[in-house]
Amino acid sequence: MKAHSLYALGFFTALVLSACERAQKGAPSEGRKIVRVDGSSTVYPVTEAVAEEFKKAGAAAKAGLAYPVEVTVGISGTGGGFKKFCRGEIDVQDASRPILAKEMEDCRAVGVAYVELPVAFDALTVVVSASNAALSEITIGELKQIWAPEAQGKVLKWKQVRDAWPDAPLKLYGAGADSGTFDYFTEAVTGKAKSSRSDFTASEDDNVLVQGIANDRNALGFLPYAYYEHNQSKLKALKVNGVAPSPESVENGRYAPLSRPIFLYVSVAAAAKPEVKAFIDFYLANVAKLARQIGYVALPERAYSLAASHFASLRSGTVFGGVPEVGLKIEELLKREARLEAKK
């Protein structure tokens, strides 16, 4: 290392350090405003689609804002996102389940109030390989028989669950224990979140599950609807309690209890910022169309107008009381939202 390269290194270091200093001073005076969104990976595709359209449509300028607005979306999971949300680090939280009592407490402790906005429905889909000709439907009772913790090491063949099913080994695939999908499925099937047998192939990556199930005639697993929709040639969705998952059956509430609402939580403090307000207004006006495009089920029109009115009046709080709940139908959700409206 000759003299000049050593000097170059020193110069480079000084340059970066001075850039740091300048940046620290200069950051707040920049014209650009950022709307920070974080949270669930299940809600991420929806928020991403809305954020993309928000920018494409120049919605910030149309809402009368004089400065450019950028939306950033992170994936920390619903739990991780709520931690940031209750610290006031982000403006909007993507949630694949309602806020829990513990998180409500955290938010209250630091004075973060929030508006809860249901934005779409997702259908957890029970699937087998497309090559599995023996099965086309299953009941929640049978799913419980298969997935309950007591079944571990005992329910090992299809025939044990229903006589008409083949005398073949039962291979199970499902979401990993850290995901909201796992929480919801176990709550809906066994009646208790996270209560499940553990001798199944688990993956946080749903594509791994798709591959595994598609290539194994004796496999059974569960997936978010979007993963089934894009792999219909490889997978077969089972009717649950006689109802096949589809946008229609979710919308009319017949695909229960495996359909679940997904939410946005907007901090009341952030909602006072014009750029956040512009983004949420745009979100509620466009999410129905975009959600359908990416394999989610839109709520009925009335749900969005209720949500918009909650947001406009900054009606804060949750309609769930902090307890996990499954099988909530759209009408029930609407009823509760309306009650919140009436209480005001």
């Binding site: 740091c20 940046a23 992170g74 920390s76």
Partner: protein, 290 residues
């Protein structure tokens, strides 16, 4: 009966050849695995790489989605990492090897350094979340990410620096002292220049490691969807491995091709950084005349 044909010699020759064959087989196996990986990545990813792919922001349509935010973010973060880890790492290595007295304190330092090199990267992420993001208020920024990765790869640079300083023969130092050079002059004009090659190797390894790190950056708050480029080190960011992971985990097949393309790009970025370092190393070695 000639010496060549005695039984023991023939057996030994045979063993010799057998071992050579075994070694070649092992080498071939690892090369085949590597070639299969790179080949698969390239065949899926290469068709997807074009100008638009490199200059577009993320999108929900696989064909419109691009890597711009990710590769610029990666480069930016790596610059901060290098600016931190290289000078401090080399300085620490020089101190430990040339100046530090042999005592209990130095031994403790060395043990600490060795342990630091073995700490899982996620732990660095958690430390950075508490220290940089909250205590120092640096936020979820390029600077935080760069500092985190800088600390993560610091031990690599330190160890490489020490190894290559140790490889300089003692007589070089003695010769410098003999003509009246001070300790600093000796290090500055002789020891450091001659060990540049080894130090650069350490730097290559460090930078490549930092480029592929994901876990600590997720912890400190790297984003997934971002449609503007960082203009200062305090801006939010994303990096190549995170974008790649997001694409791999999508339901649409087309996004998987995007992920492969991002993998190819990450590979190219690492290779080209390594190429630069190799060039520098070659030049510095040529200039050394003992």
């Amino acid at each position: 009966m000639s010496f060549e044909s005695t039984l023991t010699v023939r057996v030994r020759r045979w063993r010799d050849r057998a071992f050579l064959a075994l070694s070649l087989l092992c080498l071939a196996l690892s090369l085949v695995a590597l070639a299969a990986l790179v080949g698969d990545l390239a065949s899926n990813g290469l068709p997807r790489i074009d100008r638009a792919f490199l200059t577009s922001f993320p999108s929900r349509f696989a064909s419109e989605a691009g890597l711009l935010a990710a590769w610029v973010g990666s480069l930016f973060v790596i610059l901060v990492t290098a600016a931190l880890a290289i000078p401090i790492g080399i300085a620490a290595g020089v101190y430990l090897e040339e100046y530090a007295p042999k005592n209990l304190w130095t031994n403790c330092l060395e043990v600490a350094m060795a342990n630091l090199a073995g700490v899982p990267s996620i732990v660095f992420g958690l430390m950075a979340l508490g220290l940089f993001v909250y205590r120092f208020g640096l936020g979820q920024s390029v600077l935080t990410a760069g500092l985190t990765l800088g600390l993560l790869v610091l031990p690599i640079v330190v160890v490489a620096t020490r190894e290559s300083l140790r490889a300089i023969p003692g007589y070089i130092r003695e010769a410098s002292f003999a003509v009246g050079g001070s300790k600093w002059q000796t290090i500055r004009h002789h020891v450091l220049p001659y060990s540049t090659g080894g130090i650069l190797t350490g730097v290559i390894v460090a930078v490549s490691r930092a480029l592929g790190e994901t876990a600590p950056l997720v912890t400190v708050g790297a984003l997934t969807f971002i449609t503007f480029l960082p203009t200062s080190v305090m801006d939010p960011f994303t990096v190549l491995p995170i974008q790649m992971f997001n694409w791999v985990s999508r339901p649409q097949e087309d996004f998987h091709a995007n992920a492969a393309a991002a993998g190819v790009l990450l590979l190219l970025l690492t290779l080209s950084l390594n190429g630069v370092a190799l060039c520098l190393r070659y030049r510095s070695r040529k200039r050394v005349h003992w």
